[in-house]
């Protein structure tokens, strides 16, 4: 009889968005397309990115924040948020 394998997995989503003070020409282009497609009351669109990361054990929080600040985002032009924390034991 084999012992069931328990794998600890932690999934984080890092949400990176351009700062509101930074011109986002991509967002402007998408907004114009949304307007063209019939949603005339669209105000602003901003395009960011989601980076999904899975860990096999809980990551060091300080290190994680350093990596989010220095690698995954650029604090000159972007803000980040760590969201969607889920833990599963498949």
């Amino acid at each position: 009889m084999s012992t069931p394998l328990i794998v600890f997995r932690m999934k984080l989503e890092v949400l990176v968005m351009p700062k509101r003070t930074v011109l986002d020409p991509q967002g402007v282009a998408v907004r114009n397309a949304v307007r063209e497609l019939g949603l005339e009351n669209v105000e602003t669109v901003r395009v960011g990115k989601i980076i999904e990361i899975e860990f096999s054990a809980e990551p060091d929080e300080k290190k994680l924040n350093e990596i989010c600040r220095d690698l995954l985002s650029n604090e000159v032009i972007e803000d980040y948020r760590v969201v969607g924390t889920t833990t599963s034991f498949p």
Partner: protein, 233 residues
């Protein structure tokens, strides 16, 4: 005298930079692979254009954490001249050696066209042979070349004379029409406070020989070589 041209996976102007140095100026120059952990033995370092590491995440973001950059940051902090062209400029901003960031061109277009630049600071190792306010012609080729900095960083750059190159018209005026990509204050290139680290979006490596349409870019590499010779003397 030996000058390094860094090669990241995805660099594509490495040969242009090496040729400008070797053929344009007959200087000893060689490639430096991104995995190297030392930049010892080089009198100056050139970070070429291209799409380092595919420009994934942001332009230059992953290259900024490559082993060779750790060594280059240390060399730069000890005064070694470091020159970032196009993607090289983006890498230097990502490392924090230079302030600000390069974001998507305002037009969203990848721009490949000649521009006119005005020399705003001729005391860097790369501009010392040029007269202040003199004009240079060379091409740009980028999708993310709009210089951005927050208000205080921008004021600091301007007040300290760290703006080295500005996009101007034929009369030397920094008009909005002469600004190809939406860069703040028409900034095309900057230096660090010490002046030994310079980054620029336009390509001197594509304008070092008359056959390329302009040889104005050679002046920048020649300035570097003169600087190194005068240090050695």
């Amino acid at each position: 005298m030996k000058i390094a041209v860094v090669r990241f996976p995805g660099s594509n102007c490495d040969q242009d930079c090496l040729r400008a140095l070797q053929d344009g100026l007959e200087v000893d120059a060689e490639y430096l692979w991104h995995k190297e952990t030392s930049a010892a033995g080089y009198d100056a370092i050139v970070l070429p254009g291209g799409f380092s590491y595919g420009d994934y995440l942001r332009c230059g973001a992953i290259a900024a954490f490559s082993p060779v950059m750790r060594a280059i940051i240390e060399a730069a902090n000890h005064g070694t001249p470091v020159f970032g062209v196009c993607n090289g400029f983006q890498v230097l901003c990502e490392t924090g050696l230079l302030g600000g960031a390069l974001i998507r061109n305002r037009s969203l277009l990848f721009l490949c066209q000649p521009v006119v630049l005005k020399i705003e600071n001729n005391s860097t190792p790369f501009t010392r042979l040029l007269n202040e306010k003199s004009l240079l012609r060379m091409p740009i080729a980028h999708g993310e070349g709009a210089f951005y900095a927050d208000g205080s960083t921008l004021a600091e750059l301007e007040d300290n004379g760290q703006v080295v190159f500005r996009y101007v018209d034929e009369h030397g005026e920094a008009t909005s029409e002469a600004n190809p990509n939406g860069s703040m204050n028409n900034i095309a290139g900057i230096c660090n406070p010490a002046g030994n680290v310079v980054g620029m979006m336009p390509h001197p490596d594509r304008s070092w020989d008359r056959r390329l349409g302009s040889e104005d870019g050679l002046q920048l590499f020649k300035s570097l070589v003169e600087t190194l010779l005068s240090v050695a003397a």
